[in-house]
């Protein structure tokens, strides 16, 4: 079961969280005591009335990177199954942008793996958001707090030898 690859999906259609969670539960099997689901959605901003969000990505590289992030989390915390679904294109306030699901035997592994996947996704996966509001269009700037969140996981990881076969 632990050899199951993460399920990674980039789609322009709405994310169906309930069926994604059911697929995750099936993939993880009866040994999974815990399941954590993270839902990121388009939120209303205070500055200007947000009308829509446009999300662009780098096809190919995104899938590859999300798979790598999912696989590393799976190995590092021995979780049973991982799902990462990310929406692209045009979205409205309240729409799901991303859903990350993690299943494991006990709760700590799933909670930690889910936090790590989201922190890495936010800072490493090639997605770009543009806000469309009454005041016009503008690309969202990267947040320094997201980069600090990512650093937590890098520091804890076992040191990698630059040597021959890594």
């Amino acid at each position: 079961m632990q050899d199951l690859r993460p399920r990674v999906r980039i789609q322009s259609e709405a994310i169906d969280m309930a069926s994604e969670d059911a697929l995750l539960a099936t993939a993880a099997g009866p040994a999974a005591g815990a399941r954590v689901g993270f839902s990121g959605q388009v939120r209303a901003t205070h500055e200007a009335s947000l009308e829509a969000l446009w999300l662009e990505h780098y096809p190919g590289m995104t899938e590859r990177l999300l798979l790598e992030i999912g696989e590393e989390a799976q190995r590092r915390w021995s979780v049973l199954a991982v799902t990462i679904v990310h929406r692209v294109g045009l979205m409205q306030v309240g729409d799901l942008i991303v859903w990350v699901g993690v299943a494991s035997a006990h709760r700590q592994e799933a909670l930690t793996a889910c936090a790590c996947i989201m922190d890495r996704l936010k800072t490493e996966a090639p997605f770009w958001k543009k806000e469309i509001s009454s005041a016009g269009e503008s690309w969202v700037e990267a947040r320094a707090s997201d980069e600090r969140a990512r650093q937590r996981w890098v520091q804890e990881a076992p040191a990698r030898r630059p040597g021959a076969s890594d």
């Binding site: 990177l65 996966a125 090639p126």
Partner: protein, 83 residues
Amino acid sequence: MRLHVKYFARLREHLACAEEVLDAAQGWTVRDLLKHIAARGEPWASQLRDPVLLVAVNQSMSTLEANLHEGDEVAFFPPVTGG
């Protein structure tokens, strides 16, 4: 050697270019490619001088010192903001 170059998000908009195919000399690094493109004048010069710009070679994050090879896909883009 032929290189496939891609631009994303803010960069793509300012350059009005999503991708192009370039002929490059053998032995070029990413930095050589960047200089070559910036030499076209505006808007290329100032856009590609942006210090926060990221680069990927064949869909993996890369540094400016990486060597390029025939058929490589090189992408330039601003810091990511997904999720």
